[in-house]
């Protein structure tokens, strides 16, 4: 089967000028990073590189073993969309390997450029900053690599090294700073969060005639739901869907204004912030004395979510200690026959499903969303086999790329998904990820695909008979 997009000709430096805006001092102050490029930055970067090599088996092994067979080369949406050779996963990783060879291998120290070993100079740093921020850490290349080399591990290490010498992007650092200030990525202050929930409760009353609640900060609730803040603000259908779901199940639940976000931008920057951002979830669960934490429809939240026990655990103060995704929870309830469903409520649309990268390739979440959609819709169609499940394409904006200054990259990266969706003729594309939900409407508009983007639970609650 031919690739969903023709494999492009190599266009050197096609996207070399598309870089993210650099971080602002006010944000850096809040997240423990240097406010500007540190003195002696080259030396400091290599020291940090050495530390990362000592700490991460993945990095050490992936620096050494790539055979440059090229199996990954045409699998990245950013290469398919742009043709820039540095967007081939193997070439992206070589940007880091060339520095590794120069400073950490005898042959690189001796023979330099002849064996592909290069100095970490200003030009190299600029390449890192450009291309490691054109990678969405989506793990797709790892699926095709004979050794499972995951470029996400390499990109994450490169970003951590850069952050340590004072080089990072405005979007990511701004979001993390907002999380520490307001509890969520969008910077919604607690009173506004509560207001939004009240407003949505009124909507629910008008739509269903029932008193369906969206509880906030309720101590002693059974479930703490950590949903993306975008669900409270933009994807409100999904927020209301959580309310209907728990109402139908008769389960008490709450959101937290201390931690009303699961999405973890620390994942895109460095370990310290990954851990600190995720800690809020556990702290909120302790304060509210809940029995379990359920992660909402958010891809990166789930990626960080499955690390919670490791990063911030043990979680043994919870009755159900391990992380649970809302799709796992709902699918389990479906199996128990907990809902009365009328599938014909969704008969007006043909539905397809987009696997977000993190749940599909890092979070073992492939069947549950499909089970929910199949139980809620009569008309469900899969996209091409090579564009779904573990071979799904990134929406084009994951891992800190959802920022407007690199719009051409985002649209190019989203093209494979757009074309696969177009081919199904679906009216609705359902996906459990806030970043996908923000990015895909723009992608579909750009590539002129007539489809509405929806959450997974939005479809379920339409079919639930209350």
């Amino acid at each position: 089967m031919a690739s969903i997009l023709p494999i492009p000709d190599l266009i050197e430096d096609a996207t070399a000028k598309l870089t993210c805006y650099p971080s602002k001092e006010k944000d850096l102050k809040q997240i423990d990073l240097p406010l500007a490029r540190v003195p002696d930055w080259q030396h400091k970067a290599i020291e940090k590189f050495a530390e990362m090599l000592r700490k991460y088996k993945s990095l050490q092994v992936y620096m050494d073993i790539c055979a440059r067979c090229g199996a990954c080369a045409d699998k990245c949406q950013f290469f398919l969309g742009t043709g820039d050779p540095n967007n081939m996963p193997v070439a992206r990783a070589e940007l880091m390997r060339s520095v590794y060879r120069r400073y950490f291998t005898p042959e690189g120290r001796m023979f330099g450029a002849a064996v592909g070993a290069y100095d970490f100079d200003e030009a190299m740093l600029h390449k890192w900053y450009t291309y490691f921020y054109q990678c969405s850490e989506c793990h797709r290349c790892a699926v095709f690599c004979p050794y499972g080399v995951d470029t996400a591990e390499i990109t994450m290490a490169a970003r951590e090294i850069m952050a340590s010498i004072g080089v990072s992007t405005k979007y990511i650092t701004e979001v993390i700073a907002k999380v520490y200030q307001t509890g969520n990525n969008l910077g919604i202050p607690p009173p506004a969060w509560i207001d939004n929930c009240k407003f949505l409760e009124e909507e629910l009353k008008a739509e269903t005639g029932k008193d369906i609640r969206l509880p906030v900060d309720e101590e002693g609730a059974e479930v703490l739901l950590v949903a993306p803040s975008a669900d409270n603000f933009a994807n409100t259908d999904t927020m209301m869907a959580y309310g209907i779901l728990f109402y139908a199940l008769g389960v008490s639940w709450t959101t937290s204004t201390y931690c009303n976000e699961g999405g973890n931008f620390g994942l895109f920057l460095n370990y310290a912030n990954l851990k600190k951002v995720n800690r809020r979830i556990v702290d909120a669960a302790r304060r509210l004395k809940v029995k379990r934490i359920i992660w909402g429809e958010c891809g990166h939240a789930w990626r960080a979510g499955i690390l919670t026990d490791t990063l911030n655990g043990p979680l043994d103060f919870l009755e159900v200690p391990h992380p649970i995704h809302i799709c796992q929870y709902t699918a389990a309830m479906l199996k128990r026959g907990a809902f009365k469903l009328d599938k014909s409520a969704n008969d007006d649309v043909l539905v397809t499903y987009h696997d977000p990268c993190q749940p599909a390739r890092a979070g073992q979440l492939l069947e549950e969303p499909r089970e929910i959609i199949r139980a809620s819709c009569n008309k469900f169609v899969e996209m091409r086999a090579d564009t779904i499940r573990e071979r799904t394409f990134c929406c084009g904006a994951g891992n800190g790329l959802l920022t407007d200054e690199i719009m051409p990259i985002r649209m190019a990266g989203g093209k494979p998904r757009a074309e696969a969706c177009r081919a199904t003729g679906a009216d609705v594309l359902a996906t459990p990820c806030a970043i996908c939900k923000a990015q895909l409407p723009e992608v579909m508009k750009h590539w002129k695909v007539d489809v509405r983007i929806s959450g997974v639970h939005d479809l379920l609650v339409k079919a639930i008979v209350l």
Partner: protein, 245 residues
Amino acid sequence: MDTPTALWNLTAGALIGMAYIVGLIFIVGIVYRIYLYLSTPAPLPIATTPAPTTVPGAAARVAGDVFLFQNLLKYDKPLWIGSWLFHVGLALILLRHLRYVLYPVPGWVIDLQTIGMYAGFLFPIPALYLLWRRFALKRTLYVSGIPDFGALVLLAAIAGSGILMKYAAHVYLVDVKAFVIGLLTFHPVAPPAQPVFIVHFLLVLALMLYFPFSKLMHAGGIFFSPTRYQPYKTLERRYVNPWDP
């Protein structure tokens, strides 16, 4: 002693010395790299999903990678055929060569002789295919450097000189065996006085010297890829980060 004999003795001595030095670098280099892979912690669970949920399942996944190259088998058939034949050929050739090292020669090594010979003759085909592919695809050409071509050319040259010995420049098995066993038992004797053998042997030494410092370490590293060897057990028990428990 006449001049040619003196020269030969010098050459033989140099070869033996080189063999020991290279052998030492090869062993120490590989042991060091494997130790590095073993001892470097894997702080977070990062299995590529869908992943096996048990340790035996994960072991089976790694075995599939090692013996079947399963990701290539699933998604890149031409590369799979080329690389799998290349590696199986290499393995058969190496096993066949055990007859130069072991005494007495075990029955299964003798049984391997015929197929090992065919593997040797045919080996240049997948090797040349991989070399051709490296040039033919713009994507692989872009990321290929001297070491990538070098490794293939070196292996092809070793195979070529080996085949040559079988037909054009015959070497007695007994002489080769005396030389190799002499080296292994630290009672070195002179190598067979056959230029093609000397070339073959020198090329192998070059490969051994190159091995621990190159991408050829994928041979050992494939066992240490966390995305592949980790089972997905997040729902079962806590994964502990050794440097941040």
